[in-house]
Structure formats: C-alpha cells, structure tokens
C-alpha cells in the first residue's frame, strides 16, 4: 500500500513538472518595448515613426555643443575650431582635437535609417486614402533627401541606402554623388507634389520641399528649374518681415531684424518669412527637448576667463558672484568658450562696402544693437574687486595679448542669444529655442544664384537687393554680382543659420562641372573654389600660426574623411575614402546608378 502511495506521489510530481513544459513555454515574451511588427500597422504607426524623423533634424544638426552647424562653420571661411585648425590631423581614424566631424557621417545615416523604415514599409499596409500614404511618404522622402543633400556635400560620394536594412548587411558600395543627387531630385519632386502647402512651421510643407529642391536643381545644373521652384516659393504664402513684431516690438533700442531672430518669433504666426523651423522649447517635458543650442558657449567671447586682466594685472571679470550666483554679465553674454572663433571676414570684412565699415554700416544685420563689440567698449570689467570695475576691457592688460582670439572678437548677439528657462541654475551656454531651417530670404538668394549661373545678373541683383533693402543695406549693382558676392551676402544674412560648408561645396561643384574659372571636376581634390575661398578669406589660414596653434588646410579637405570603421566593418563591399585621406588607394569607381530599393 505504501509503495502505491509513493508511486502515486511520484507520478503526481512528474505531471506537475510536465505542465510547465508545454509548447509555448520557451516563446520569447517582450514586455516593455515595441517591435516593428506591432507598430507599423496603420497610419498612426507611421505617424509615430515620423515623429522621430522630424526630431532627428533638431538633435545634433542645430543643437548641443559642437553641433553639425558649428562643424560646417569650422569647415568654412567664417570661423574655426581653434584646437583643430590644422586639418592634417583630421584623419579617417581621426583624433582631430575637439571636433565632431567623423561622427556626423554615421549620425546622418542613423537619421536616414529612420526615414527608410517609413519608405520601405509604406505599402506593407492597405491605405484607405492614397493622399495619407503619399503625404507620409512625401515627408519621409523630404527628410531623406535633406540628409543625402548634406551627406554628398560633406562627404562626397557615399553609399545610397534607400531601404530599411533589416538584417546584417556588409556589402555596401559607394554611389556617385551625382547619382544620389538625381535620385533626391526626383524624390523631392514627389515630396513637392504631395506635401500640403500650409503646415505647422516645424513640419516640411510643399514649399520647404521646393526650397530644398531648388538647391538640388542648382547642383544638378538645372538652373531654370531652380528658378521656377524658387519662384513658386516666393509667390507662395510668404513675405520678408519688414515690421516690428513679437515680444520686443515696443523696444525702441531694437529693430525688426532683432525681432526676426528672437527665438520665439520664428514660429510666430506673424512671421511670414518662415518656411521651416526646428522647434525646441524650455517648457517641454525634460526628455522632449534638446540640451539647448549652446550658441552662447560656442560663439560668444570668453570674457570671463582668467586671461581678462585689469590694469593691475588682476582678474577683471567674474562669471559667478562670491555667493555662487551668476553675474549679470553671464546671464546676458553667456559663458563663452568659444567653441568656434569667428574670422574677421564675417565680423569685419563683409561689412566694408559702399564706403562704410563694420561700425558705420547702415546694414541692420550689423547694427550696433544686434552685436556686441569689444572695440566699441561694450565689454566691461565686472569684478567689483578690480580697480577698473565698470571700465571697458583693455586688451593691453591681458595676460596674453594673443588671447584676443577668444576674448575680443565681435559677435552677433541677435543670433546667439538663447536665454535659458526661468530659474535655470547652470552655466549660461545657450538654452532651448527654435532655429530657422529655411526662410524666404534664403530663397531669394538661391534664385539670385540660379540667375547668376544663367548669366542673368540683372535678375540676380534684383533678388539680392530684395534681401539687402530689407536690411537697409546699400543695393548692389548687377555688375558687382559674383559668386563670391552672393556668398558674402549669404554670410551677412544667414550666418548661424545656413550649413556654410555644405553650401560652399555645392557652389564649388557647380563651378567645377561648368569648368568655370579654371576649375574642373577631374582634379577637384587638388583645386576647387572652396579651398581658394577659404584660404583667401579666412585670416586663420592666411596667417598659418597664431599663438602656437597651427591653421592649415588643403584642397582635398573640401570633403571630409569617412570614418575608417565604416569602411573596415563593410567587409564584403568597398566604401570609398575621399581622395587625399588614408585609404583612398583602395577606391573603386563609384556606382553611377541607384538600383532597386
């Protein structure tokens, strides 16, 4: 009997054991995260993917320290990252000190990945309304085109990935930049067709697509199409701002150019100039906003450093009061480092026109109220312990005169002032706020450039003067319109807005394709307009060495190196390195056509 009981107990236990071993027992059960299969099932799923796609434009492109915009300035005649002025140290495996150029390449591909998820899966579901499908697809194509436009101008020939990578893939090959530009031209034409004309200002509209498309037409030498596209924008629901508006409208010290650039005014309904902005507000939930523009850290002078001395050789300025609170000077000027030092080209040279100088020009974009100038005595000793308290800085007292590189240059506070949220307790580096991606002034300058390439200099001058007149600048005559002049005007109008290096390279490529001014595409890495302009306009490269810092650039730096790890991990294909960098000897001719997606 006992034996039977024991066997029964044993059997019962075995049964208990076996219950837990049914078929589903080993199934993976994800709990706190979504998988593609349970998200991209309907319009809402695609909309959530687009949320990420839109936010990608904010992230490193326009916000945070050493963002892409800053790197594009570093790669131009307008300024330099002091520690990285010797471009020989920029290598594919690079330790180019203090710059973030290499990661831009892979970051942008990360953003492209997000657009491709939408593009590849768009027809995986059945759409009730084709308009919905096309609008969502159009927006994804717009952003993908935006990123490829940036890539080919920064990194030249690159692989075109037009689909969602859903498994390990190691056989990428490089496409010709022109193949990619043709592809994004047609993608943007689709986007311009399907995107609504009127949208929220932080979402791309039909006109944003046309604006970008017009630049692509330019590089593709379709100048008439560029003129048509820009004309459509100019004739659209936009107008340049000539009136005071927004928060400061009654402040008589300021002007409407100040208003135009006040962060909150960019999204304002009153602002008829905005085509596309990035939206970023301090009152957003903590994880929904960026860490800020960092403009006041990156582009304002280092007025607070130990080097700023008074006539007794003592520290003349303080960023914090003895009680640990910020000085007022820090609140208004920020705690400049600066990450990017502007060149006198942008702060002085371009304002010398029509007989005026930087301090006398009627141009509102260089108006005294919009800039902070050491030379006008606007930087004052604020250390109460200093004998010179309240007096203007005197560079002759400084610990090292050569430190004027960081302490005494003029800067456009109307573009760098991004106040921090109320009660913010950290260092003032430049807080959250909206930034322009595209505004109508640039559209005029693109059309002007298209007319220029078409040799219609009268029309070009007209468009430039629309922008100049608004700024109260002396009009230009058609005979003075050159490519250099157009880019000077872009510098005056679009500093800290445009991707400067990208636009310079675009113009250089057009020049080379057209074989103008002795440039050609075959020896682009040895001779190009970008190099000639940067070395002739930036004093850094002209002087070569300042305070032991080397400034040196070569023609092949027109394109930036491709991160070696991208090339080495792509073991089954060949991704080309840009000419002039280590590893370029392994290049093979780039693909000239883009195959199936």
């Amino acid at each position: 009997m006992k034996r039977i009981i024991k066997i029964l107990i044993a059997v019962a236990m075995f049964i208990f054991m076996n219950i837990s071993c049914n078929d589903d027992f080993l199934k993976t059960k994800p709990l706190s995260f979504f998988a593609p299969e349970n998200v991209y099932l309907d319009k809402e799923g695609f909309e959530t993917a687009l949320v990420t796609v839109r936010k990608n434009l904010n992230q490193e492109e326009f916000y945070e320290a050493l963002n892409h915009l800053d790197m594009d300035i570093h790669g131009s005649e307008m300024g330099v990252r002091q520690t990285a002025g010797d471009w020989r140290t920029l290598t594919p495996s690079g330790s180019h000190q203090g710059v973030t150029i290499l990661p831009i390449f892979t970051r942008i591909y990360g953003y492209i990945k997000n657009t491709n998820v939408v593009i590849s899966r768009i027809d995986d579901i059945t759409w009730d309304d084709q308009q919905d499908r096309n609008e969502i697809l159009a927006e994804a194509l717009f952003y993908r085109s935006y990123w490829y436009y940036r890539l080919v101008h920064s990194f030249g020939d690159v692989p075109f990935i037009g689909y969602e990578v859903d498994k390990a893939k190691l056989d990428f090959n490089t496409h010709s930049k022109f193949a990619i530009l043709k592809k994004i031209q047609s993608d943007l034409e689709f986007a311009a067709e399907w995107l609504p004309a009127i949208r929220l200002k932080d979402r791309p509209s039909k006109y944003a697509a046309l604006h970008l498309l017009s630049k692509v037409y330019l590089i593709n030498l379709e100048f008439n199409k560029a003129i048509d596209a820009t004309t459509e924008v100019i004739n659209g629901p936009y107008a340049l701002m000539h009136e005071r508006f927004g928060k400061w409208r009654n402040d008589q010290f300021r002007n409407y150019i100040w208003d135009l650039h006040w962060p909150e005014n960019k999204a304002s309904q009153e602002n008829t100039e905005t085509i596309l902005i990035t939206f970023d507000r301090a009152d957003a939930p903590e994880n929904a906003k960026t860490s800020g523009t960092n403009t006041m850290r990156s582009h304002n002078v280092n007025w607070h450093g130990q080097l700023v001395r008074d006539s007794k050789g003592k520290r003349g300025t303080i960023d914090f009061n003895p009680d640990g609170t910020r000085t007022q000077m820090q609140d208004t000027l920020g705690r400049g480092n600066p990450n990017i030092t502007p060149s006198p080209y942008g702060t002085f040279d371009i304002w010398n026109e029509g007989g005026y100088g930087a301090f006398t020009t009627p141009d509102l974009r260089r108006a005294n109220c919009n800039w902070i100038d050491y030379h006008l005595g606007e930087l004052k000793y604020n250390n109460p312990a200093s004998v010179d308290y309240g007096k203007p800085f005197n560079i002759n007292y400084f610990a090292r005169i050569s430190d004027s590189l960081t302490t005494t240059f003029p800067f456009p506070i109307y573009k760098t002032w991004y106040p921090h949220e109320e009660g913010y307790n950290g260092n003032i580096n430049g807080g959250n706020g909206d930034r322009y991606v595209y505004r109508l002034a640039e559209t005029y300058l693109i059309r002007a450039e298209a007319y220029y390439w078409n040799n219609q200099l009268d029309l070009a001058a007209n468009d430039i003067n629309v922008v100049r007149e608004r700024a109260n600048a002396v009009p230009v005559t058609p005979s003075d319109v050159t490519l250099d002049y157009i880019f000077d005007e872009r510098a005056r109008e679009l500093f800290l807005e445009e991707m400067r290096h990208t636009e310079l390279v675009r113009a250089s490529l057009i020049m080379a394709q057209l074989n103008r001014n002795g440039y050609n595409y075959e020896n682009f890495a040895e001779k190009n307009w970008w190099y000639d302009r940067v070395t002739s306009h930036s004093n850094f490269y002209k002087e070569g060495e300042i305070r032991g810092l080397i400034f040196y650039v070569e023609p092949h730096n027109v394109f930036w190196p491709i991160d070696i790890t991208v090339i080495t991990t792509n073991t089954l294909g060949i991704i080309n390195q840009n000419i002039g960098y280590d590893g370029d000897e392994n290049n093979i001719p780039p693909l000239e056509t883009i195959e199936v997606e």
């Binding site: 080993l26 949320v51 859903d166 893939k169 970023d280 939930p285 929904a288 991990t569």
Partner: protein
C-alpha cells in the same frame, strides 16, 4: 527441512526502521555512506569450507563464527548442542551447510549476520523484541586522539550503513549504544583520514586519527550529487571551511583570488567586497563569462553578496567540461558550487563570531601638492612653461626661485603691466584662483586626499545554532556586517540569515529547505574621484559659515568631491529571499526521487535625491531632482531528480536523471521629478510635489527547460567512467534554435589499485581524461528580437512619442558552445605527504555570441550573431605538502600555478587583404574597432611600442614627428618619420596575467597557535594608464593625479611632460600608454590562538578562538597607479581582529 530465510527490508524491522529515520540526518552522512548491506548478500556471498567428523553442534557453530562474521543464538530450541554430527562442505553457503547439518524439526533464521536456531514451529512467530535484542547487544565507547596523542574533539563516528552515530567530546571520548555487534564504525574528521573499524566483540575502541594530506576521503560536490575525491573523474578544486575561517570576508568570492589553480579572480575595491571571476580564461568575446553558481545543489542566479561567508562549509569549483556539462547551457564558464553548513549530530552547537577591522590603502596616488603644497605650483609652472614656450623661461617661476642671473625687476618686466607686488605678479602669471591666492597668503592648505580617502571601520558579527536529532537536522544563522569603504561615502551593510532544515517524515520521505534571506544596504554616495584629482591644496573644503564649499578652487567646473556626499540623499536597499524546498522519496530497487522547487524573490529600491546643493550630470536642479527605481524579481526553478545506485559484483552504477524548468521575471519602475515645491524637504519621499514627472518601465521575462542524464560507472573500484548528456532550452535565443544538446565523457584510472603497481614512493596515482561541450546563454532575454526605442517630442502640435528601430532581429541566434578536453593526474608521494594535481586543458568556443560590428551606415552599430571561434588552453598545478608534523610544530604548504593562453581562432569569417604590423596580409580580416585579431589572443595589446620619452638632446628627432622633448617616444617600425597605426602599431603585450601563482603556508605551533601566510603573484601583463595621455586643456587652472612628469629638470623616461595642446595626435589612431602591472602580494596573513579546552570549559564555553587577519599587507609592483590589481582605484588593506566562540 525448509529453507526459511527472511530478506531484511526496512519496513519489517523496527530497528531498521529507526535507522532509516536517522538516515538523512546530515547530507554529509547521507552521501558518504553506502546503502544498507542486505543480510542476504552476506549470507549468500560468504562461502565456507568445513570438514569434520565427530563434532558437536557447539563446536560447529563456533567454527563457523571463527571463519565468518556469523553469530549463533538459540531460541528455546530443542536442538541438543552436544550431539555429535559430521559435516563435509566445500565452499558452500551457510544455508547449504545448515540445511545439511540440522535435524528435522529444527529450523533457523538468518537475520543479518545472526543465525537463530529455533524450532520449526516457532519460525514465523519469533517476536520482534527478540529480533531486536539480537541487535542490541553492544555498547561501544572509546577515545579518539591525534597523532600527537592529543584528544580530538568533534570527530564524527557513524555506524556504517546507517546514520546512527555520535561526535567525540572535548576529551575525544565517545560512546555509542545499541549498535549491532558486527557493526563497522566510520571515524571521520575534517583533515584526517577516515578510518573504518569493525566492532566485532570489542566494547572499547581507542583510535588514533591520521592526518589526511591529500584529502582523498574528502567528499566533493560535483553537481546534482557528490563524490569522494578519490573517485573524481573530472577537474574539481575545493576550498574548505578551514580556509574560509581564517579570512575576513564580505563576499565569499574573496576567498578565490589567487587560491585556486585555473580560477582567475581580481579583488574588488569597494566596501561591498567581492571580485571578478573567470575559470580557465575567457570563454566568450562578448557574453558574460561569470561562472554559474550552485548553492546546496541547486542553481542560484542571485547575488553572491546575499550569502554570508560564515555560513559556507566549502566551495567546489568545477573546471573541466565533463564536470560542468551537467549544467549545460549555463556552464561554459565553469561552475562554482557552494555548500553551506549543516547541523551535526550531538548537542546543539552555538557559535558566535565577531570581526572588527580597519581598512586603509595599499598604495596612494595623490594629486599634486597634497603632501607638499609647493609641488602644486611647481606642476602648474612646468605646465605653463610647456604650453607657452614663447614666454621667457623663468616667467612662471616663483620670485623666490629665480636664479641669480635674473633680477627681480627683469623678471617683473616680463609683463607689460606687472602688478605692484612680485607675489601678485607671480599669482597672476600662474592664474591663481582668488581662493588659492587668499589661502596662499594665509599659508592655509587643505589635504583633500586625506579627507576623501582615509581608513575606516569594518564590522562583522555572526551567530549560528546547529544540531541534529534522529529525525531532523537544523542550522540557523544570522549575521550582520557593516563596512565603510576607504573612499568616503562608500559603504555596505547587510543582514543575512539562513535556515537549513531537514525532516524525516517517514522512513521513505524526507522534506527540507535551505533558505536564505538577505537585506543589503548599498546606499553609496561615494566621493567623486575625478573632482578629488582636480582639488587644489590651496582650495577650501568649507566656507567661512561652516557650509560645504561647492567649488573649493573657485573653478565652477570643478566641484567639491564631497558635494553629493553631503548634499544628496540615497537609499539603495535590496531584500532577497532564496529557498530550496525539497522532498526526497526512497523508491524500491535502490531508486530515489527528489523534487525540489527553488523560488527566488528580490526587491530593490534605489531612491536618490539630488538637492539644489548638488550636481547630477553637469546640471544643478534648482528645485532638486528626485529619482526612484523600484525593481522586483521573481524566479523559480523546478528540478526533478531520479537517482539509482547499484552495485552488481564488481560493477557499480550510479545513474542520475534530471528534468528541470525555470522562469525569470522582473519588473522595474522608474520615476523621476524635478523642481519641488514648496521645498525639497520631503526628499525622495514625495516625488509628486515636483513639476515635471517622468516614468518608465522595464519588465522582462525568460524561460528555460532542461533534461539531463548522467551515469557514473566504476569497475573494480579502479576504472571510473562518467558520461552525461543534457538538453537545454532558453527563450532568449532565436525561436528557430531554442534548444541545444551538451554531451560529456570522462574516464579515470586509479593506477595504484592495480596489482602490478608497486612504486613505493608514489603511493597514489590516478589518471584522468575528459571531454565535453558546454553552452553560454548569458546575453540578456531579448537579444534575438528587433526592438523599437522611443523618444519624446514636443512640437508645435504638442507632446508626442516617436519610435525608431534600435536593434536588428536575428531569429537564428543560438547558444555559444565550448568544447573542452582535460587531461590530468593526481599523485600522492612519500606516504601521501606530498600531493600533486596537474591538469592540462584545451577549450574551444564556437558560435560566439558576438555583437557583429555592422557598417554604421546601416543605422545599427552591431547585431548579435553566432560567429567565430575562440580557444583557451592552459596548464594548472596544485601541490600540497606536509612539511613538518610535530607535536609542537606543524607546517603545510600549498602551491597553485596556472597559465592560460587564449586565441581568437576565427572571427567574422570574412577574408581579404589587410594591413597589419606594416605588412600587407591576406587572410581573415581583423576587427580593428574591437582590436580583435584572428590568430592572436583576445587580450593582446595592439599599440605603439613606447620606448621612452624624447629627451632634450633628441629635440630634432622628436621634431621630425611633430613632437617635443617630454613626449612619448615610440618605435617607428617602418622608419618613415610618421606614426601610422597600420604601419607602426605592434603587439606589445597582454592585459591578462601570463602566469599566476599562489603560495600558502600554514603553521600550527605551541599546540594552540596557528598562522598562515598567502602570497600571490600575477605576472607578465600590462595595464593601460589613461592619466598618462590626458586631455590637459584645463590643467593650468586645476589639479591632477600627481604622476612624476617629465621636465627639463627631471628628465624621466617613464612619464611625459605636462602639456597642451597635446602632441599625442601625431600618433595616428591614437596612443594608449601601458605600464607593467605584474605584482607579488602578501595577500592574506593570519595568526590565531585557540584557548586550551580546559581553560575554555572553566568559563563554560566549548572553544574560543581569537585571530588577527591582514589582507593585502605588502604589494610589490612597478605599476605607477593606485594598485596593480585595480588600476586607478585605491585598493583596501585591511587589518582585522576576530573572535570565535562556540558554546
């Protein structure tokens, strides 16, 4: 005459019933003793030859008793014992003989070895009491002594084949009643050779125990069972409780650093103790390689921190594939089996131990000027000279330090607008912060280092009660430990309790539990070491009003290292309960069935509040920031074990079958909030009063199952075979490959048991050979799935959530498999005074779970895949010797040696042309990003070979490289005047020790004293030192770790100059500085004294032991950082006093 034999079974005999009850008393006993020897076996197997004419029954029975173990008794028998008979039996059984010899009407019954002669009619009716009487005849007593004739208390004496037994008292005396008089007594004691004595007719047995040097009798845990060391087929090492007793431990893993051949453990530095663990080299490139932990026979996924080292009886380490293969998918990195203490037969034992210790550092690396503040300014002076070579050379010198050739006026006029006072001018030039200037003038300095890093206290108290009765066995303990780390704010405290309990419900059913509970407090808010490094000795720790100075140097990027220590509030508390609930059934035919269920519950709270007086990240939250993380885990595992043990003639079978299932679930909730109103006083207790709350959840679930079979087979006790196979399933792997099978085989040959073996000086020799495959599943529960991450967005249309892909799916993901061979021998020499175990192994891991690097243009940096092959091979040796064995002096030595060599045999499987070491090569492509090179060790260092520092007379050569004197000088392999990584980087060494040695000496002297010293050496490896290649841009206005930098006045060849901008960028691909980090360390020293038992008894205790223990007493190394084992973290040196009291 009818043959009437009763086969004894446990159910019929009350005495045996009782014995059966006593069984299970201790796991130890249960597992060491063989099962009941059935009487029938003896009577059937004993054969007698008797040839007598004219002999009485008396004489016949007496003769049989002489020839065998049979004893005769008469029960009212009508047999006439004096009647004469004749008998002629040749090699016959007793039954055959008695059947021939006894007359009609007389019957017999054989009960065990007792033969009862009775009348045939009484046969069935023999009363139970009489049967019992037969076996209650004897009482045995005696005294146990050691070889020095000293009484030996605590020796376990067991009647073989039962669990009836006792323990010798303080005088070494014991007595056992009611034992069968043919009993065999087994005397065992830790560290002594077990002795078996047949009682026979003896009533007094005095015995001298001999030291067991080899530990052949030691019982070793091998997973789902135990085996005598002498019967091992695999490679298993053990650490006994003796060894653990003489250490001051926070976590049990601290015993393992350097002490076991083939187990590599680095000491950890924090107050929570512990150390890394790796068995026989890294068996994976990216999955975890921590060994599996098994506690009291069941797999344990909890934290080792939850186990009180005072509860640990022994630790066994399964190293070879065959030993660990029974754990299949979890065992590729070896298995550590922890056995906790159990109650021993005898009266309850109460043990109390207390340890009190102080920790300081093994070595100090201070920021400049902490000991001599002037050095701080000297370092800044030398930095500025390097940074501004255009200034006159003495520009940055203190006016008092100027050479005679330079007048003060001349020096002052180096500046365009010199200050009035030379000291002011000097301070301006060196850019002193106001506070530095002020304190310099006052002559006030602060030694921040000694405020942050200073000796602190450790305490450990433990109380346990253990004992065993016939039907139960118990052990209960509670311990409290409180450690303060050497870095201020580092702390660890724990309350840990354990209950081990077994109850014999019936003679065939045992139930019990091994349960531990732990509550850990890990509320660490440790001082910030990088800010400590930046502290100026002329900064101030405190403001004048007594509050903490947030920026001690005035520099707002350099914060007070104790800012969070004083300003933040943290609660990190982990409560866990792990239980093994088991039941064991004895089934017929020698089969036992054990079911055990192991739930584990853990809750974690980690609450932090950063007040507005602190930073988190680089931000100060004005209204404070609070974070709460709550996590709970529930796991269970169900094991079904069937064991069968059978000896058939010369064949012994031991079969184990397992079916197991498990599930792990975890739930985590994170909350945070900022900007609290009306104030921050509620700390993390009131996050709802903030204005910007955030929540997130991370839950996970995984499941596994397993089937396993193992057979141990022994032929003639000298040929040993173990074969096992296990099939495992795990939910984390791709759904196309959830299962895998892991086989293993091992054989061993005890050569010394062979008749032809006659090597007299080598009294023990065993050869072992094993092969097996193990797996590694440790990659996280969702590695095979594609995941979407989420981002928050705030746009003109409002708040929204966006998704994006973060990982690629791999539905074919499978186990990582390690196949390993082991060959070894165990050798005992010179009367077993020297014992040598040597093993050689080769392991190959295939299907490595690798995060395969993808071209990042895919938007993904990697995908988890099965690729590549990694090999480990090595040699291990353990030598134990008993050097001196004298009454007053006893000395043992134990030496362990191991070396491991690993090699990446295959990687991604992509072939092509590549460049390495300046050569164009064709072959499998290396992974330059991870610095993995097929054909080379995983830990090989590929970097520039630094040969020294460019000196002043090498200025021109240095300039060729764009460098200056004081910079690193390295081999330019192709001598092209440029440092290019693919051309000039070389393989310069390894990061893992090439050889590891441990030497332990144990002494006991003057009868009551014992001492031990353990010396450990890890030799031949390098360690990177990032402080030698720093980003120094702000050095001129802060402090740094005080390395003896190069300067024209101090032209060292070991350290570079202080400079910025760095010329390191001349090294293509970057340079990392490595320094030799081999070391010899006196790791453990202990001295202890046992109060003589007579004295102890006077104060009514059983024993008292006091000890002094020192960890990391001396370290010999050339490594310039804090410690060769921990790099840039200070390593504690701990002095501990302990007392151990048994009642």
């Amino acid at each position: 005459m009818k043959k009437r034999e009763t086969i004894l079974t446990g159910y019929k005999f009350p005495l045996l019933k009782k014995i059966m009850k006593i069984m299970k008393l201790t796991t130890f006993l249960l597992l060491t003793t063989t099962m009941l020897v059935s009487a029938s076996v003896y009577s059937q197997s004993t054969r007698l030859t008797l040839k007598f004419t004219d002999i009485t029954y008396w004489e016949l029975f007496h003769e049989i008793e002489k020839q065998s173990e049979f004893r005769f008794a008469f029960s009212r028998s009508k047999l006439d014992p004096s009647a004469k008979i004749q008998i002629n039996a040749m090699d016959e059984t007793l039954e055959q003989i008695l059947n021939k010899a006894l007359p009609i009407g007389i019957a017999y019954e054989i009960i065990d070895r007792y033969v009862v002669i009775l009348n045939a009619s009484e046969k069935i009716m023999l009363p139970e009491s009489q049967r019992m009487q037969l076996q209650q005849q004897q009482t045995v007593s005696g005294k146990v002594t050691d070889s020095n004739n000293q009484p030996l208390p605590g020796v376990t004496i067991v009647v073989k084949g039962t669990t009836q037994g006792t323990v010798s008292n303080d005088q070494g005396e014991f007595s056992l009643i009611n034992i069968p008089d043919n009993a065999e007594l087994v005397f065992s004691f830790v560290g002594m050779q077990t002795q078996n004595i047949f009682v026979g007719t003896k009533t007094i047995i005095n015995i001298t125990m001999q030291q067991d040097i080899i530990g052949l009798e030691e019982v070793v845990a091998v997973g789902y069972g135990t085996v005598k060391r002498s019967d091992l087929t695999g490679s298993v090492s053990r650490i006994s409780s003796e060894r653990i007793r003489d250490m001051s431990l926070t976590q049990m893993t601290e015993t393992l650093s350097g002490t076991v051949a083939g187990l590599y453990s680095q000491q950890a530095t924090s107050a929570s103790g512990g150390g890394s663990l790796e068995i026989r080299g890294p068996s994976s490139l990216s999955a975890h390689t921590d060994p599996l932990v098994v506690i009291d026979g069941v797999i344990y996924y909890g934290s080792i921190r939850d186990i009180n080292p005072n509860d640990v009886e022994s630790i066994d380490i399964l190293k070879d594939a065959s030993s660990s293969a029974i754990y299949g998918s979890k065992a590729a990195s070896g298995v550590i089996i922890i056995t906790t203490k159990t109650g021993q037969i005898g009266k309850p034992t109460i043990n109390f131990s207390a340890k009190l210790g102080v920790s300081s550092t093994t070595n100090d690396l201070k920021p400049y000027g902490m000991d001599n503040p002037k050095e701080y300014f000297n370092a800044h002076r030398d930095y500025q000279r390097q940074r501004n070579p255009d200034q006159p050379d003495y520009y940055y010198f203190h006016p008092d330090d100027l050479p005679e050739s330079i007048g003060l006026d001349e020096w002052m006029n180096y500046s365009a607008n010199p200050a009035d006072d030379p000291i002011d001018e000097w301070a301006n030039r060196l850019v002193l912060w106001p506070i530095e200037y002020e304190n310099y003038k006052l002559g006030k300095t602060t030694d921040f280092y000694n405020i942050v890093i200073r000796p602190d206290l450790r305490q450990d108290y433990s109380l346990s009660v253990g004992g065993a009765r016939e039907d139960m066995q118990y052990y209960w303990s509670i311990g409290y430990l409180d450690n303060k780390g050497i870095i201020k704010g580092d702390q660890f405290s724990a309350i840990r309790s354990r209950i081990n309990f077994d109850l014999n419900v019936t003679e065939w059913l045992t139930v019990g539990t091994n349960t531990h509970f732990s509550s850990r407090d890990e509320s660490v808010i440790q001082a910030n070491m990088s800010h400590l490094a930046s502290m100026s000795p002329y900064g101030s720790m405190w403001n004048e009003d007594g509050s903490l100075r947030r920026y001690p140097n005035d520099y707002t990027l350099i914060r007070n290292p104790l800012e969070n220590y004083y300003g933040a509030d943290r609660l990190r508390n982990i409560n866990s309960l792990f239980s093994s609930l088991h039941a064991q059934l004895e089934l017929p035919f020698g089969i036992s069935y054990r079911i055990s269920f192991q739930p584990r519950i853990q809750t974690l709270k980690d609450y932090v509040f950063y007040s507005s007086e602190t930073h988190t990240g680089r931000v100060t939250y004005v209204g404070g920031r609070g974070e709460r993380q709550d996590q709970s885990e529930f796991e269970w595992m169900l094991d079904n074990l069937i064991k069968w043990n059978k000896e058939i003639g010369k064949h012994n079978f031991d079969l184990t079958l397992l079916a197991s299932a498990e599930q792990q679930k975890s739930w985590q909730s994170d909350q945070n909030n900022v900007n609290f109103s009306p104030n921050e006083k509620l700390s993390y207790h009131g996050l709802q009063f903030g204005t910007n709350p955030g929540i997130s959840n991370y839950d996970s679930e995984s499941t596994g199952d397993a089937l396993m079979a193992r057979l141990n087979y022994t032929y003639k006790g000298k040929y040993l075979f173990t074969g096992s196979i296990r099939r495992d399933g795990y939910s984390a792997f791709g759904q196309k490959n959830p299962h895998a099978t892991f086989p293993a085989i091992a054989i061993a040959w005890k050569m010394d048991e062979e008749s032809f073996y006659n090597i007299s000086w080598m009294n023990h020799l065993k050869l072992r050979l094993s092969w097996g495959i193990n797996g590694n599943r440790d990659i996280g529960p969702y590695s095979a799935l594609a995941r979407l991450g989420s981002i928050e967005s705030y746009s003109l249309s409002g708040y929204g959530i966006g998704v994006y892909s973060t990982t690629l799916a791999n539905s074919y993901l499978a186990w990582e498999e390690t196949e390993a061979f082991n060959i070894g021998f165990d050798l005992g020499m010179i009367n077993n005074r020297i014992d040598i175990t040597v093993d050689a192994y080769k392991g190959t891991t295939r299907n490595l779970l690798l995060n395969r690097q993808l071209p990042r243009i895919t938007g993904f940096s990697s995908i988890t895949s099965n690729l590549g092959k990694l090999g480990n091979k090595g040699i291990e040796a353990t030598i134990n010797s008993f050097n001196v064995d004298d009454k007053n002096f006893d000395w043992r030595t134990s030496l362990v040696f191991s070396l491991n060599r690993n090699k990446i045999e295959e990687l991604w499987g992509d072939f092509g042309n590549y460049k390495l070491l300046g050569e164009d090569r064709y072959g499998e492509l290396p992974d330059f990003e991870n610095e993995w090179f097929p054909g080379y060790a995983r830990d090989i260092i590929w970097n520039y070979k630094v040969t020294g520092i460019w000196q002043l007379d090498e200025m021109e050569q240095a300039a060729n490289y764009g460098m200056k004197p004081g910079d690193f000088k390295s081999v330019d392999v192709n001598e092209d005047g440029e440092y290019t990584q693919l051309e000039d980087k070389k393989f310069i060494g390894y990061t893992a020790p090439r050889y590891r040695l441990g030497l332990k000496n144990d002494f006991s002297f003057l009868q009551n004293f014992s001492a031990s010293i353990f010396i450990r050496a890890d030799i031949g490896h390098l360690r990177s030192m990032s402080i030698l290649t720093p980003e120094m841009s702000t050095f001129g206005i802060r402090n740094a770790w005080g390395i003896p930098y190069w300067s024209p006045e101090h032209p060292t060849n070991d350290f570079p100059r202080l400079v910025w901008p760095s010329t390191l960028s001349q090294y293509g691909g970057g340079i990392t500085a490595y320094k030799p980090t081999g070391f010899v360390r006196v790791q453990d020293v202990s001295v202890s004294y046992d109060l003589p038992s007579a004295a102890a008894q006077k104060i009514q205790v059983n024993s008292i032991r006091v000890s002094a223990i020192i960890r990391n007493l001396f370290t010999f190394t050339n490594y310039p950082g804090f410690d060769p084992e921990s790099g840039m973290d200070p390593m504690p040196k701990t002095f501990t006093l302990g007392i151990d009291l048994t009642l």
